[in-house]
């Protein structure tokens, strides 16, 4: 092979060494990623297995407590439960199971589930999350405590309404509605809190799902300068089918210049065959 002395002597050897080291580094990185993926995958499968085991355990305990009329003291002394109750994975699975059952049952059953949440100590797991500095943990804590109706945490939850993260604020708002009803939103009548359509759909969902009763004076929200609060009021009037406010809505329709509000009110009144 013929060669250019300049290229052969100065370029190739230095370059070869460089490429060799880079290639080794890249290859090693590939291997590291593969091993990490494999380890994570194995850990995930193991966690799934444990989750299934804990799920069966907590369901067994809760069904005994709810339907076989075993006392709380009795079920909390189950050796399997005592063994794992301090493990965070178990606590997470247990709270999830409690919430799922709470969604499906009402009346005395849901009260008993709320009592279990408190008495079993699982509530401390959620409170610890609520007190955390990490916003996803706070959201989780707020959601658990409000869904399982932990009244004692109300003020602590409410204090997070000024949290800088939007998702925390929204979750707190939903929690307050679950725990205190629509009146909780009315408190924001004079605020500049912007409730976009996504937040409003979450509020309406919460109201429907938790069967939150209509407040006596829903029209108060129509007086707000905050158009997003007014829009929510219109949607709530529509949901509760409060015919006594249709005149107020009709008047508002004529006065407002906000196109979105006009459209929404027109739709509500059209559905009720109310003539504007």
């Amino acid at each position: 092979m013929r060669s250019d002395p300049l290229i052969e002597t100065s370029f190739f050897p230095a370059m070869e060494e460089f490429v060799l080291w880079v290639a080794i580094a890249v290859f090693t990185t590939a291997v590291i990623f593969f091993i990490t993926t494999l380890v994570k995958s194995i850990k995930r499968l193991e966690e799934e297995r444990r989750k299934k085991k804990y799920q069966a355990l907590i369901e067994n305990i809760l069904f005994k407590y709810l339907f076989e009329e075993q006392s709380l003291e009795e079920v909390l002394k189950y050796p399997d439960f005592v063994e794992v109750k301090e493990q965070s994975l178990f606590q997470r699975v247990a709270i999830k199971a409690l919430i799922a059952l709470h969604d499906n049952y009402s009346g005395n059953y849901s009260k008993r589930l709320e009592h279990f949440f408190d008495a079993s100590g699982l509530v401390n797991y959620s409170i610890a999350k609520l007190e955390s500095n990490s916003w996803p943990h706070i959201v989780e804590g707020v959601r658990d405590l409000s869904t399982l109706n932990h009244g004692a945490s109300y003020s602590r939850i409410a204090s997070h309404i000024i949290h800088p993260h939007e998702l925390v604020k929204t979750e707190v708002l939903l929690a307050l509605i679950k725990m205190g009803g629509i009146e909780e939103i009315m408190k924001f009548k004079k605020s500049e809190l912007q409730l976009n359509d996504w937040i409003q759909s979450n509020i309406l969902y919460t109201v429907k799902k938790h069967r939150i009763p209509a407040p006596a004076n829903l029209d108060v929200m129509l007086e707000s300068k905050n158009t997003t609060i007014v829009l929510l009021a219109v949607r709530l009037i529509n949901y509760y089918k409060k015919a006594e406010y249709y005149d107020a809505l009709s008047l508002f329709y004529q006065e407002t210049k906000n196109k979105k509000l006009k459209r929404e009110i027109a739709q509500v009144l059209k559905n009720t065959e109310f003539v504007i």
Binding site: V26, T37, W198
Partner: protein, 477 residues
Amino acid sequence: MTGIAFIDTLIFLFNYLILVFAVFVMTSYVILAVISGFSLKAYLRQNRFVNYKALLALDSAPRVSLIAPAYNEGKTIVENVRSLLAINYNNFDVIVVNDGSKDDSIEILTAAFELVKSETVYKQKISTKDVRGIYRSSNKAFSKLIVVDKMNGGKADALNAGMNVTENPYLVCIDVDCIMDKDVLLKLAKPYLEASGKRIIATGGVVRIANSCIIRSGKLVEVRAPQNFLARIQVIEYLRAFILGRMAWSKLDGLLIISGAFGMFDKEIALRCGGYDTNTVGEDMELIVRMRRYMIEQKEPYAVQYIPDPLCWTEAPESYSILRKQRSRWMRGTIETLFTHRKMLFNPKYKTLGMLSYPYWLFFEYFAPIVELLGLLITFLLVILGFISWKYFFLFLFFVYSFAVMFSMIALYTEEVTFKKYQRLEDLLKLTFVAILEPILFHPFTVYAALKGNWEKITGNKGWGEMTRKGFEKPPG
């Protein structure tokens, strides 16, 4: 080398050019992967608490039309339409556009969904081939279904016909044979509810490979790595493109494509732009580029949103001949879009699109296969002439190979820490195995298909090429 200064300098410069090009490509991949990683992490942190079903509580949720063009889909169309009608959403309808099928699609649809010809007048907001009839179901259970029967005009023409028929302000254009996540519309619509200030003109999401997955009644039940080797390699390819590529482009506000398999559009803007271009085979990419260009030129604040959740599952080609046609068509689509919008290249008026996205597509998507071919030819020439440093050659080959494998491993890792769709260890190992072989067996083929696409463009081939699908719902072997 040759001893002839002129030739030696040329070879030397060419080598450096290839090296610089390769370094640029690899660096850009790494940068995009890093951006994607951070964006995905942030997205999942935000979205782990999202209850998409909440959107169903809103009576005034965005009204959406799912437009599904169908051509000779008679064998599977009923099942596919049923699956579309079962999507979780409150304000939507399904518009199936029978694009002059040669089979009995329209008769099958009429019988299955009790269709009757409607009196609706077809208004051509966008010019299309003639519409033979618009059908609606006489059965209230299928009240959300509209079927448009028209003369054959291609996918873009069928989508335009659907756009003409819909009265809803938002469109979701889909491939009728794709398996959609039941919450697809909830996820696509959410950004429109959150928009403040900027108008959302489009949302798009991730397409994944459904071969060998367990699908029952039009619903994805279990995700599995494909049994077919070629389809399995494409899983890796899709993971790299969607997880490590598009997520980053979305973050950089430089997304130039929303997959034709499914994407949601603001109808008003799409109409103002003239709808889908029927003269290109890359109508999905072309429309989004045109819409973005339009918004910039009109100085209207806008956004294009990307949803990284796997929402759409498609059947990947399992034969080299079909895959070749598909990839050649993609390349032709890319060429056509880049040529149509060449004004954007390095034009600061178009911001990220003009200064980053367009040049990236031009140099790293369009030119890359050509550069690879040139590199290969020069290498052969050097081998024949005996001017090659074999040690350096193999070292460099090893480096490039390692990089490709590393990138696939990063994609697999990202999938494992994010969506975790492949639940079985066996699938992970299968995918790792093809990731090791991909640079040797698959990549050269995609380069060939892309070059063939260039050739077809030069020779004036405008066809789509038959895309024979095997269909879902088979036992995975």
